[in-house]
């Protein structure tokens, strides 16, 4: 059984291979040249690190120097989720009962996942970690809970979920605009406040990233139809079981 595109003939495939090996050779040459070029922005980041309020240069770049990137990245996540929701739902899976083992696994791991996500968020200020890693862990927690059959209760899948989904982007913009008002530039934190503001924004971003990734896994728009949504965001004892 052929797995390749039947519309592409053999000659075409050889042509593609030829072109791609040219591209590959060129890229390898570029890598060789670039790998001998002088240092990038590392020294500048290191020189300015003490004004950022955090000790981890990667977090400093993400949340301070290039805060715009992270802001737009939150927007991309939101747009991806809106894209999924606007496509209309897919038929939900016919879940069977999860069975006691998986049920217990999800119940025991859920608090641990929250602990580790909070730890990654905290440690991101001075060591590897941060909002994206913590958010991914929360998102994975949401996936695990969904797979174990948990669904968000109706009271959480409406407004509250939407607030969480935009809180990362919203808080970012609010902080940026607030800094404009008090006379600074957009997203230029005063060094004295930078650490606290970054922790605040990161917390919101973590919740948003986690909720968005879990909702992306669900694929359906919560609140439409019977009990669907991502469960990790709220006290799971309100999480409805289905069926």
């Amino acid at each position: 059984m052929s797995i390749t595109n039947p519309a592409t003939g053999k000659a075409f495939r050889w042509l593609v291979m030829l072109l791609l090996s040219a591209i590959g050779g060129w890229l390898a040459y570029v890598m060789l040249v670039l790998s001998r070029s002088p240092a990038g922005l590392g020294d500048q980041v290191a020189a300015q690190l003490n004004t950022t309020g955090v000790g981890n240069p990667v977090t400093a770049v993400l949340l301070n120097f290039r805060g715009y990137d992270t802001l737009l990245e939150m927007a991309v996540l939101l747009i991806a989720l809106l894209g999924v929701w606007s496509l209309g739902g897919l038929a939900d899976y016919q879940d069977t009962a999860p069975g006691p083992t998986l049920d217990t696994l999800s119940r025991v791991l859920a608090p641990m996942l929250i602990m580790v996500a909070a730890y990654l968020l905290w440690v991101g200020a001075d060591a590897p970690g941060g909002a994206f890693q913590a958010g991914s862990v929360l998102g994975a927690a949401g996936v695990l809970l969904q797979l174990a059959g948990w669904r968000l209760g109706d009271c959480f899948s409406g407004m509250l979920l939407r607030v969480v989904l935009i809180s990362g982007l919203g808080l970012f913009i609010l902080v940026g605009a607030g800094l404009l008002l008090i006379g600074g530039a957009f997203l230029q934190y005063p060094p004295a406040l930078a650490g606290g503001l970054i922790l605040l924004i990161e917390t919101a971003a973590t919740l948003t990233i986690g909720a968005t990734l879990a909702a992306l896994f669900l694929g359906n728009r919560p609140g439409l139809g019977p009990k669907k949504a991502d469960p990790e965001k709220t006290e799971p004892d309100h999480g409805n079981q289905h069926p």
Partner: protein
């Protein structure tokens, strides 16, 4: 030849491999996998270049870009998978019209 350069070469290889598979395969799921492999190749090149001076600490800017890139890639993959499932639900095909076997 240094250690980061080795990984940069692996990144080039992954990029080319992914691009080839993207062009050659008709099945949409395979195309999604191919784009992800391409992305991994690009990330590898970026991070390898960030660490090209073994004595200095690695450049944090590409690292930050790659972290956002990984999260964006997975959300884009989720969107692409839903699009593929929609195409499948509507047409019963897992390939686009102009690439269907005749």
């Amino acid at each position: 030849m240094s250690q980061p350069f080795l990984y940069a070469l692996v990144g080039v290889g992954l990029f080319v491999l992914g691009l080839y598979a993207l062009i050659i395969h008709a099945h949409l799921l395979r195309k999604i996998l191919a784009i992800n492999v391409m992305g991994s190749g690009v990330f590898l090149m970026l991070v390898a270049l960030a660490g090209r001076h073994p004595d200095a600490p690695p450049d944090p800017v590409p690292h930050a870009m790659v972290i956002t890139g990984i999260v964006v890639a997975v959300s884009a993959t989720a969107l692409a998978l839903i699009l593929m499932l929609k195409v499948y639900a509507v047409t019963g095909q897992t390939a686009l019209d102009d690439e269907k076997p005749n």
